[in-house]
Amino acid sequence: MAEPLQTFDNKISDEDLIEKFQRGDLYAYELIVKRYKDQLLNFVYRFLGNHEEAEDVVQETFLRVYRKRHAYQRVAKFSTWIYTIAGNLARTELRRRNRRRIFSLSNLGVEDKEYEISDDILSPERHTNTVLSEEIIQREINKLSPKFREVIILRDIQELSYEEISKIIRVPIGTVKSRVNRARLRLQGRLKHLLDKNK
């Protein structure tokens, strides 16, 4: 009995689900949450590099979807809409975190600053004999500027099309392609020793 219902749930499109939700069907909203929570969490986690913050941002994203459900119109794909909300919230969170960091650094003494700024806690050399570590990749992604980080996550981890990324971040496709290319070149340069080992 559960199987046909599950098949029906999988077949129905995101756009139909949100329309049902707009008409008051709360089960449709639950299906949306089930479909997107891990996708969005992956995107936001790779962008922020912190699981707790990422989960909080994704919660806030679904809350916005709940509140603003009538703002969605079928002219755009639902995934574009929800990724735009999540991306905006993640960027806001990143700015907030940077402000906090600047404030806390300015409160530290000179000796503390030397400790805080040293960047080789996780030296790549220590990992040359091991498999490519996710932490190293994540760390290198976090070193990219937000505009490069966002496009490479959406393209290479979320595997969205250039067209959809262009709509999510509201820049022309050409710019998206150029940013993805530059981000890839930078990352492959920084992770060269690990990529060579992992061929």
């Binding site: 929570k37 891990d38 992956n42 290319n181 990529l195």
Partner: protein, 200 residues
């Protein structure tokens, strides 16, 4: 090599296998000759492969429970009644008071600047003088000169016609004090004036 910059722009398309055949042939030739670009191309291909191997991050088991609670709280906050205590927060009360002070100041300022349109006209003064002179009047006996004097004291700036009224040759005065009165400093005598009506 001078072409390297141009070819590195094509590396993503090369790694994604979306290059046009002519461009791909051209790039292949370049990669055979340029070890730096070849290394970068291999790196981009390998990077994409490694990205695909990254593990998927799972939401915590209580994710949906927390979300439901947040939605419930959010709905409660949105349907809060007008008498909700948050409307009476100290910051809000201070803001309400400040707004009230500003509004009151504006009202007072404009009220003070208003011209004397609403003040009684000269004819009403005449009516009062006639009433005072009517036989068996229940009103206290006040001379028109006294009324005019009082208006002069209270509203000289609001009633510019009053100066003309005072200088009117047709105004009747029964005592020599009336004619010698200058400005608001000298008081008129409280003696009754003649019964002749005042005209302007």
């Amino acid at each position: 090599m001078k072409n390297c910059e141009r070819f590195t722009e094509l590396l993503s398309d090369y790694a994604e296998n979306t290059l046009a055949s002519a461009e791909k042939r051209e790039l292949d030739v370049h990669l055979e000759q340029c070890s730096e670009c070849r290394s970068a191309a291999d790196g981009v291909v390998s990077l994409r492969r490694n990205f695909r191997r990254l593990s998927t991050i799972q939401a915590s088991p209580d994710f949906e429970t927390i979300l439901r609670t947040r939605i419930k709280l959010d709905r409660r906050a949105q349907i809060a009644p007008i008498w909700n205590l948050r409307y009476l927060a100290p910051q809000r009360l201070a803001a309400y008071s400040a707004a009230a002070v500003v509004v009151m100041s504006c009202v007072f300022y404009f009220w003070q600047r208003q011209p004397a349109r609403a003040l009684p006209s000269a004819s009403s003064t005449i009516a009062v003088s006639q009433m005072q002179l009517a036989p068996n009047s229940i009103l206290p006996s006040v001379s028109p000169a006294k009324i005019l004097y009082t208006l002069d004291q209270v509203t000289p700036q609001l009633w510019p016609n009053f100066g003309a009224l005072r200088k009117s040759p047709e105004r009747v005065s029964s005592t020599p004090n009336d004619s010698s009165r200058t400005g608001s400093a000298s008081r008129p005598a409280a003696t009754p004036v003649s019964h002749q009506p005042i005209t302007f």
